[in-house]
């Protein structure tokens, strides 16, 4: 759970990266994502990953991203093992494993630096229906609340003798039931209360709701977007056309 919160929960920041238009941040992470799929050797992947970490450093979120990377290693080790068993090719297995880490880093970078408000803006740009966007924003807004609820529920059940850290995997999963049920029930009750509050504040009254805040794309945002695309193009070109011939 700490891994999830460290790697994907937004926290306010003041770097220039944070201040970029969220669509540009999305573009950068998307390009990063595609890049990880394009590289074909470990060395290139390592260089790409190092580049990601540099960007994370520029965005002043390097510590959190690096920590996420460390936690992801567990899953990537699992991927490595499965691949080695089925393909007997160590090099590609390592590639897939590290690729997974790189993918997590690129998506994590986006979510850590983008506030739910900005996420909403991005979704609106893609012309998603208002109900979907609203449901998403509200869900994200309640993530910290639900995390707190989970801790309180675990405290209450521990106080009734429930041992969450003991036993084999089956025992531990079974012991989660007294934590999951209250969590789910509370979420359902919460939805009901939210629905009442929504109705009481005229949700759905007009087909096109207005918005308090307006988002503008600055010249700087556009410049960064262009630079990102150019960097990607150059990288893709060198990975596909220049480097392989050199290595071969």
């Amino acid at each position: 759970m700490m891994w999830l919160s460290g790697g994907f929960v937004f926290r306010r920041g003041t770097s220039a990266y944070h201040k970029l238009d969220p669509r540009v941040k999305l573009l950068i992470s998307a390009l990063m994502f595609v890049t990880t799929l394009l590289v074909r050797t470990i060395y290139e992947l390592a260089a790409v990953l190092a580049f990601f970490l540099v960007v994370a450093a520029i965005a002043t979120v390097l510590k959190r991203v690096a920590r996420t990377m460390v936690f992801t290693l567990m899953f990537s080790a699992f991927i490595f093992v499965v691949n080695v068993v089925f393909t007997r090719n160590v090099e590609t297995s390592v590639l897939y494993a590290v690729r997974f880490v790189a993918i997590v880093v690129s998506t994590s970078l986006f979510f850590i630096t983008t506030s739910p408000d900005e996420l909403e803006q991005v979704m609106k740009t893609f012309r998603l229906p208002r109900d979907v966007v609203f449901a998403f924003v509200t869900a994200v807004r309640f993530i910290p609340v639900m995390m707190l609820d989970t801790i309180q529920i675990m405290d209450a059940q521990k106080s009734r003798g429930l041992e969450l850290d003991k036993g084999n995997i089956f025992r531990r999963v079974r012991n989660m039931i007294p934590v999951l049920i209250p969590l789910v029930v509370n979420s359902v009750v919460r939805s009901g209360e939210l629905a009442e509050a929504m109705e009481s504040r005229a949700y759905g009254a007009v087909p096109k709701p207005t918005s308090l805040v307006e988002y503008h794309t600055s010249a700087r945002d556009k410049a960064v977007a262009v630079a990102a695309v150019v960097a990607f193009a150059l990288g893709a070109y060198s990975f596909y056309f220049i480097l392989p011939t050199q290595l071969l």
């Binding site: 405290d155 521990k158 106080s159 009734r160 003798g161 041992e163 007294p178 029930v185 009750v189």
Partner: protein, 270 residues
């Protein structure tokens, strides 16, 4: 029985919730912990069963350091009723709910049956034995969580804000239950903003502010210190205010409106 030795606690986000708290609660005492929201009352409670461990200092329960044992073991001796019953009810039936903790603590099935029956009867929940705990009313849920705790018969019972959302009839029943626990020799700790409802049991009052204990004494004398209550943002019970207005001698115990009316008459020299 419960001892805090220079306990400080700092949250992960750097906020200091407890600052050098030293406190001793003896067996059989009835203690009320008061203070505004954020004063550290709940943090204090969580230290007793090891849900939180001190950043510095130590907490001892019956001589045992909370750092060296588990919450489950400490909970066998110290039952904590948290504020929100919806954070713990999950079983298919009320009787299953009551059996949960008993089974966790290793009670034999026959004993479990016995204790469940006893608890249901004591709290008037017998008619809901087979019902889902989730469909009970707010007041009934609170009674159920308390019944669950008393079923395993801990030496100490801690209640965290038991009166929130309760009406006056429910509060009266609650203070009656607390009185009963006291007569049974249990140590009772009540964390509450509302000190007035506890008057019939005349608790020892511990006042907290910003993670520190700023006042500690019997209710009847501590509640007279307006300055202290003011800084801790604790509201003086109305009858205490009246009492002070009539300038009575501080040793007199004050219990109820009938008593109060007698003082008024005496104050006027009738």
């Amino acid at each position: 029985m419960i001892e805090f030795r220079e306990v400080s606690f700092v949250h992960q986000n750097g906020v200091k919730a407890l600052d050098g708290v030293s406190l001793r609660i003896e067996s059989g005492e009835t203690v009320a912990v008061v203070g505004e929201n954020g004063a550290g009352k709940t943090t204090l409670v969580k230290q007793v069963t090891g849900l939180l461990k001190p950043t510095s200092g130590s907490v001892l329960v019956d001589g045992e350091d909370t750092k060296s044992t588990s919450t489950a073991k400490l909970s066998r001796k110290v039952g904590v009723a948290f504020q929100n019953p919806d954070h713990q009810l999950f079983s298919e039936s009320v009787e299953e709910e009551m059996a949960f903790a008993l089974r966790n603590f290793g009670f034999a099935p026959a004993v479990v049956q016995q204790r469940v029956a006893w608890g249901l009867e004591l709290f008037g929940l017998e008619e809901y034995r087979k019902s889902s705990p989730l469909v009970l009313s707010g007041g009934e849920k609170k009674r159920l969580t308390l019944a669950c705790i008393l079923a395993w018969d801990p030496d100490v019972v801690i209640l965290d804000e038991p009166t929130v959302g309760q009406d006056s009839i429910q509060k009266e029943k609650l203070v009656g239950t607390i009185g009963m626990l006291r007569s049974a020799g249990k140590t009772v700790v009540v964390v509450s903003h509302d000190i007035e409802f506890l008057w019939p049991v005349q608790p020892r009052v511990v006042v907290m502010k910003s993670g520190r204990v700023v006042g500690d004494g019997p209710a009847r004398t501590l509640m007279l210190e307006r300055g202290l209550l003011e800084t801790a943002r604790v509201v003086q019970p109305q009858l205490v205010e009246l009492y002070q207005g009539l300038k009575r001698r501080p040793e007199e115990p004050f219990v109820d409106p009938l008593e109060a009316r007698r003082w008024v008459e005496e104050a006027a020299g009738r």
